[in-house]
């Protein structure tokens, strides 16, 4: 009885360990988050930034270097466009995908729905101040002189590679 019982526990332990080990990253230098991305043509972040309302509600795939990551919950990344300061925020539901800070500087391909929103000057400053605080950056409200239409990509999946 005692030997069988010990054996059962050892098997249980082995099962836990092997299940845990099975989930380990294969070390390909590439990691998929959420549903990943489809094989569709990527849209330039600069194109979306130039006219967010034209893309509002559309599902897009974008590519760019990760410039910032939500440091507390890992619930968003920002991806670089081509022009200075041009970025797309890729937002996911808390816990659905969790991006590590080590993603900064890596290449990302991400897919999701564009959400465009027209903001007043006050709202734009508040939003930028919030973004800067989350990213741990300095922010000068006076650097924003007019309200703008902002956009984010409500994410369904991403692939980040070294």
């Amino acid at each position: 009885m005692s030997r069988k019982y010990t054996l059962t526990f050892l098997i249980l332990s082995g099962l836990f360990i092997s299940l845990s080990a099975f989930g380990k990253d294969a070390g390909t230098g590439e990691r998929t988050y959420g549903a990943g991305v489809e094989e569709i043509e990527s849209v330039s972040i600069s194109d979306i930034a130039a006219d967010p309302e034209a893309f509002d509600g559309k599902t897009v795939r974008v590519e760019g270097m990760v410039t910032d990551v939500c440091s507390k919950r890992g619930c968003w990344i920002e991806m670089a466009g081509n022009a200075p300061g041009e970025k797309a925020r890729f937002k996911v539901k808390d816990g659905e995908m969790v991006f590590p800070m080590s993603a900064k500087g890596k290449s990302a391909v991400a897919q999701g729905k564009v959400v465009a929103q027209k903001l007043s000057l006050e709202e734009t400053r508040e939003l930028e101040a919030h973004y800067a605080e989350e990213a741990g950056r300095e922010f000068d409200p006076e650097s924003i002189t007019e309200g703008k239409t902002v956009f984010r990509i409500q994410g369904t999946g991403a692939v980040i590679s070294d």
């Binding site: 332990s13 836990f16 299940l19 989930g23 270097m65 440091s71 200075p84 800070m101 900064k104 500087g105």
Partner: protein
């Protein structure tokens, strides 16, 4: 062997088995409960740098200047980005980063470190890694439920459920019930 003895034996041995993960989840629970006050996953540090005005040219040339001025191994560089018209960022391995003003050359060398133990156990607790760990965590939760149920019935007599146990059990129910009734709209 009677059912109570079986419960006692299983409760004891499963208790040993899940002690480590229970502790890990509890420690992580406390850590992430206070996420508004601190960062439970990362530790941040930064130091000021002053490398002089960056030479004109391409962004790649500016990146090379920053790397050279700060004696950074070129293989550490992951990429660069113009944050604003004047703020230039160079991303490095190990979640390090340099951000400098291209006109003055003044800026910051930023480092982010994972909190050694907490980063790992938070990832397990919050199931950041998904995949197979979801099933491991489910199995762990089932064992915890089993442990709770057997714990309630393990003792008999005055110290058991029919004795003072029922009052402790009721008190334990009261805490979440009161909070959920009065606090959660």
């Amino acid at each position: 062997m009677g059912w109570r003895k079986t419960f006692r034996v299983l409760h004891r041995d499963i208790g040993y088995f899940i002690a480590a993960l229970t502790l890990a989840y509890c420690i992580s629970g406390i850590a992430v409960n206070h996420i508004e006050d601190w960062n439970p996953n990362y530790r941040f540090s930064q130091k000021e740098v002053d490398i002089g005005p960056l030479p004109g040219g391409t962004y790649l040339q500016m990146q090379q200047y920053v790397v050279s001025a700060l004696n950074i191994d070129a293989s550490m560089v992951k990429g660069h980005f113009m944050e604003t018209e004047t703020q230039f960022r160079v991303f490095l391995e190990n979640t390090e980063e340099v951000i400098v003003d291209i006109r003055s050359g003044k800026g910051l060398y930023k480092q982010v470190e994972n909190r050694a133990l907490l980063y790992k156990i938070n990832a397990l607790h919050l199931n950041n890694i998904k995949g197979v760990w979801t099933w491991v965590a489910d199995a762990f939760a089932v064992l915890l439920i089993f442990l709770t149920i057997t714990g309630v019935f393990i003792m008999s007599g005055k110290k058991g459920l029919s004795g003072r146990g029922k009052w402790f059990l009721a008190a334990g129910f009261t805490v979440p019930l009161v909070f959920s009734w009065y606090i959660i709209a």
